[in-house]
Symmetry: C2
Subunit: 555 residues, 2 copies
C-alpha cells in the first residue's frame, strides 16, 4: 500500500466549519472574521478575558536534521491527545514562511494525521500576515530612501542605515546589493541587503506586542540608522509609525484554524528560531491562555534556540511561564548527531543512536537549567527499529527523564495519548522556572550565561565589529535588553559540523544589532545568514496545480 | 459645515452582509469564500454561465490632473444610477496599488457617496491579490538567480535577463540596482531593477487569462531572458509554471464587494494604464457579463491610455466589445489642459476651460476612431462655476456630443441618473466598434496607427535600442502581437508638458519589451518609469490608526 503524503491526508480531512471550531473554543461569533469557510481572524477585543489562565506546554526538540523532527506534528498530536482526554485545549503555532515552502524544508503545518488544516492555504499565503509584514518593512525602507532623496532633513548617513528590506523568499542574490544607481533622479546610491521576512524586526515587534497601542509604540521606537553625528534615527523621527501600524491592523488579529481532529488552533506570526526569536505571537498565546485550560505551543529548532528565546524573551515579556516542556527527539536526529551521514539515516544503526544520546542529554540539561523537568517525546518514524527505540527509552529511564513514544504522524491524537498523560503528570509536579539571565546583567554576562548554561560551551569571543557595536549600544544605554542569538540550528556551537555534545568551544559574536522596537539585541554568531538560499532542486519544481484547482507537491 | 472626507463617508456607510449582495447578483452561496463580513472571493466554476451577455459600458476620461478626475467615482455612481433605474448592474474595477495609496494620489475606490466599500480594506491589503502577484514575480526571480548560482545548466546570460523583481510600492531607489554581490556564496553579480507590481507581466497575465489552465500556459510562455547564444529562455524551461500557478490559485478568484448604495462590484487585478494595460481582470469582467445585464467598468487614465488598451488588447482577447463609452471630464482637468498651474486650479477661469476644450475634443475624436459615440460625463466638483460648466455643455451641444452633468460625489447614484439615461440612449444606437489596428500589421504600422489615430501625432521615432529590440522580436516571430504603450498620462504626446491638443509631435519609442505571457509588446516612450517615486510629503505621513483600530488619513 502506498503511503499517503501529508497533502493527500490533509485534503481528505473532513473539516468542520470554522464557526463550529470557534464555538468549541469559546470564541463569540461576533469576534470572527471569516477567510473562506475554514479560516478566521479573531477580534481579540471581543473575547472574554478570564482570570483563570491556562497551563502552557512548550514543545521543543533536540538538534534537528534539515527536514525537521516533527515538532509541529507532535505539538498538534499532543493537542489532539489532550482533547481526547477531555481537556479544553488550544494549539498555538507559527505561520509558515514561503522561503522553506518553496525551498527545501517544506511547510510547517505538522504531518500525517497530526496536521493543522487547510494545509495548503496555511502553507501558501494563509491570511496574508507575512505579506503585510513584508509590506510594512519595505514601506519603511521606501520612506527612508525617499527622505535621503528629498533633501535629507534628518541628516541620515546613508552608510549607517541599519534597516534592511525583506522578502518572504529564499533569495541569496539579494543578500548584498547596491541601490539608488542611475543618476540624481533615481535616489541616493548606497549599500543595502534583503533579509527574509521572518528575520525582520517588524516580525519580532508583531510577535511581542500586546495590543495595537503597544504595537504602534514599538514600531515608533525602531532604530533605522544613524546621522552623520552618529545619533540614532527612529521611525518616530520619520513620522510614519501611524501608517505602519495601520498597514498591520488586520494582520495583527490571530488566525483560527483546526487540527485534522478538530482541536482549535491559533496560527499567528512566524519568526525563525535560528535568525530570530522563533515563537508565535504573544497575542495569540495570550488569547489561547484566556480561552483554553491547556495551550500547547512550539518554539523553533532545538532547545538551544527557540526554547531559550521562548523563556528568556517571550515568557519574560509576556509575564507567564512554560508549565511543562516537551522535548521532541527522533531516531534519525540522534543518528545524525551520532555521526551518520544524511543519506544513511534510513539504515538501522543502534550504535549511532547511542553515540547521539549525548545530544539528548545536553538538551535535557538545558531545559533543567531553566528549572523545568522535560518530558521526552520520542517521535516514531516508519523504519525506526525496536532496538534503536529501546536505546533512547533505556537512557531516559536511567536518567530519570519522563519519556513517551509518540505515533502522532500515523495515529493522530491517539498516538499522543501516552505523551499527554506524561505531560499531565509533569504539570502536577513543582516547577521552578526562571530565565537564564537577568536583563540587568551586562551584555557579555548575558551572552556568556547562554553559551555556558544553554549551549554548554566555554565562553564568548567578540570580533572587533561586535566590540564596536557593543560600545555604541552602551553609549546609547541600550544594554539592559535581553539578547536574541542568531546561531546555526545544527549544533550547540556556532559551527554546524560540531555534532553530538561539543564542550570545548567558544561562540564568536561577529556583530550585535540593537532592535529597540522588538526590545532585544540580536547577536550574530558564526556564518549564520539572515537570508537563506535555495537548494539546487527547490521544492517549487515539484509544486503544481491541476485543472480543478487542486494543489500538488506541497510538503 | 465641515465636508466629510471619503474615509468618513465610507466608514459611516451601512454595509449589507456580502451574502446579501451575492444573492442580489445571482451568485450561489456555495460559490462564495468570505473574507470578513463584507468581502468575498468567488469560485467562478460555480456560477451559472448565461448565453445572454450583458452590455458593457466603459468609463474613460480626458487627460487627468495628478489627483485624478473621479473616473472610479463616476463608474460607481453610474452603476448605482442604473441600479436605481431598475437595471441589473454590476461594477467592475481594478484593485488599488499601495504605491499611490502611500504616495500622492490616494486610493482607488471612488469618492464621496460613490464609493466601493469597505474602503479602507480595499485600499490597504484587500484580499491579498497584489501580494500574491508580487510573490509569484519574485519567486520566479529567485529561481532564475538560483539557476545561475547552481551551475547555470540553461546557459542563461546574466547580462540578458529581462525579468525584473517587483514591489507594490513607490520606491525609486530600487529602479537601478546591482545584486549578487559579496563573493561566490552570495549568488552571481548582475544588474537588476524593481518595477512596481502593477507594471509586471504577472499582473498582465493574471488580468488576461480566461481560466486556470490558460493562466498556467501563459505563465509558462513568459520570456525571462536569453542565453549567451541569444536564445529565449521561458518559464517552461525553468519548470516552475506549476508552482507559480499554484501560488495564484486563490488570488485568481474575483473579489466581490458593494457600492455604498449596495450595487454589487467586482474588484480584481490592477495594472496601471500608463505603464501597463490598465484594465481589471478579464475573468472579473466575464463573470460580471454572465451575471448582470449591465456592466460598468473603467480603464485607467485618459482615453489615449486605458481605453485604447481596453479596446485593442482586452476586448480583442476577450472577444467582446464596449457597447458604450463614457468620457469623464472635469472643469479643473480642462483648466489644467488650458494652461492653468496646479495651485491655481481652484480659481474660476472660464477662458482657461475654453482653452482646454481642445483636449476634450481630441478624446471625443479618439473614441469615435474606435467606432463608438462617447457620452461625456461632466463630473461636478465643489467650486465649479456655472459659467465654466456652461462652456463644456455648450461645446458638446455644438459638436453633437451627448453630455450629462454628474453629481455622484455629492449625491451618489441619484447624481448619476441623468448620465445613466444618456448611456441607455447610447446603448440603443448602432455601434461600429473595431480595434484601431490589426495584429497582422507590422509593429511600426501598429504603433503608427495608435500615434496618429489615438494620440493625434505625426508619427513614430525608434531609438537605436528600440530598433535592436524590434529586430530581435522579428527574428523570434513575435511581431504579430498587439502593442501596449507605456506613456505619460498628462499629454497625448510623450512629453507631459505638452498640454491641450498637441499635433506636431513625434512619439519616441526607446525600447520594446516582448511580453509573451501577456501576449503583447510593451513600447516604452519618453521618460516613463515603470517604478514611481514618492513625493516629498508622502500620503503615509497623514495615515494613522486610533486605539480602537479605526483608520485615519486614508484618501
Amino acid at each position: 500500500m502506498k503511503t499517503l503524503t501529508d497533502l493527500e491526508i490533509a485534503s481528505k480531512a473532513k473539516m468542520q466549519p470554522i464557526e463550529k471550531i470557534a464555538e468549541k473554543a469559546g470564541i463569540p461569533i461576533d469576534a470572527l472574521e471569516l477567510y473562506g469557510k475554514f479560516k478566521a481572524k479573531i477580534n481579540v477585543d471581543l473575547i472574554p478575558k478570564e482570570t483563570n489562565q491556562a497551563k502552557v506546554v512548550l514543545v521543543t526538540a533536540t538538534s534537528p536534521t534539515p527536514a525537521g523532527e516533527g515538532k509541529s506534528t507532535v505539538t498538534v498530536g499532543l493537542g489532539d491527545a489532550l482533547s481526547r482526554l477531555g481537556k479544553k485545549t488550544m494549539v498555538a503555532l507559527r505561520e509558515p514562511s514561503l522561503g522553506p515552502v518553496m525551498g527545501v524544508k517544506g511547510g510547517a503545518t505538522g504531518g500525517g494525521f497530526s496536521q493543522v488544516v487547510p494545509m495548503e492555504d496555511i502553507n501558501l499565503h494563509f491570511t496574508g500576515d507575512l505579506h503585510a509584514i513584508t509590506t510594512v518593512n519595505n514601506a519603511l525602507s521606501a520612506m527612508i530612501d525617499n527622505h535621503l532623496h528629498q533633501g535629507n532633513l534628518l541628516n541620515i548617513d546613508p552608510r549607517r542605515i541599519t534597516w534592511k528590506r525583506v522578502m518572504d523568499m529564499n533569495d541569496r542574490a539579494l543578500r548584498h546589493i547596491t541601490i539608488g544607481l542611475g543618476g540624481p533622479a533615481q535616489g541616493v546610491p548606497r549599500e543595502e541587503g534583503f533579509d527574509i521576512t521572518v528575520a525582520s524586526e517588524i516580525m519580532a515587534v508583531f510577535c511581542l506586542a500586546t495590543d495595537l497601542s503597544d504595537l504602534k509604540e514599538r514600531l515608533a521606537q525602531i532604530v533605522i540608522g544613524y546621522t552623520y553625528e552618529k545619533e540614532a534615527i527612529t521611525v518616530r523621527d520619520l513620522g510614519v509609525e501611524g501608517a505602519l501600524t495601520l498597514l498591520l491592523k488586520d494582520a495583527f488579529k490571530p488566525n483560527l484554524v483546526q487540527t485534522i481532529e478538530g482541536t482549535p488552533a491559533l496560527i499567528h506570526g512566524g519568526p525563525f528560531a535560528n535568525i530570530a526569536h522563533g515563537c508565535n505571537s504573544l497575542i495569540a498565546t495570550n488569547t489561547a491562555r484566556n480561552l483554553a485550560d491547556f495551550v500547547v505551543t512550539e518554539a523553533g529548532f532545538g532547545s538551544d534556540l527557540g526554547a531559550e528565546k521562548f523563556m528568556d524573551i517571550k515568557a519574560r515579556k509576556g509575564n507567564f511561564q512554560p508549565d511543562a516542556v516537551v522535548l521532541v527527539t527522533t531516531i534519525r536526529a540522534l543518528k545524525m548527531q551520532g555521526g551518520v551521514a544524511k543519506q544513511e539515516l534510513k539504515s538501522e544503526n543502534s550504535s549511532a543512536v547511542e553515540l547521539g544520546l549525548v545530544n539528548l542529554e545536553k538538551h535535557v540539561e538545558t531545559i533543567r537549567a531553566f528549572g523545568v523537568q522535560p518530558v521526552v517525546a520520542l517521535n516514531h518514524f516508519i523504519g525506526d527499529s525496536e532496538s534503536e527505540l529501546q536505546k533512547v527509552q533505556q537512557w531516559c529511564k536511567t536518567n530519570a527523564v519522563k519519556i513517551a513514544l509518540t505515533n502522532v504522524w500515523k495515529d493522530g491524537g491517539a498516538g499522543g495519548e501516552e505523551l499527554a498523560k506524561e505531560v499531565l503528570k509533569a504539570l502536577d509536579e513543582p516547577n521552578e522556572f526562571a530565565p537564564i539571565y537577568d536583563v540587568e546583567q551586562s551584555v557579555e554576562e548575558k551572552v556568556t550565561a547562554i553559551v555556558q548554561k544553554v549551549y554548554g560551551g566555554l565562553g564568548v569571543l567578540f570580533t572587533d565589529q561586535a566590540l564596536k557595536d557593543l560600545a555604541e549600544i552602551q553609549k546609547n544605554g541600550w544594554d539592559l535588553l535581553p539578547v536574541c542569538m542568531a546561531k546555526t540550528q545544527y549544533s550547540f556551537s556556532d559551527d554546524p559540523k560540531k555534532l553530538g555534545r561539543p564542550t570545548d568551544f567558544m561562540i564568536t559574536i561577529r556583530s550585535i544589532l540593537p532592535k529597540l522596537g522588538a526590545g532585544f539585541l540580536v547577536c550574530l554568531t558564526g556564518d549564520i545568514m539572515t537570508m537563506p538560499g535555495l537548494p539546487k532542486q527547490p521544492a517549487a519544481l515539484k509544486m503544481d496545480i491541476d485543472e480543478d484547482g487542486k494543489a500538488k507537491g506541497l510538503m
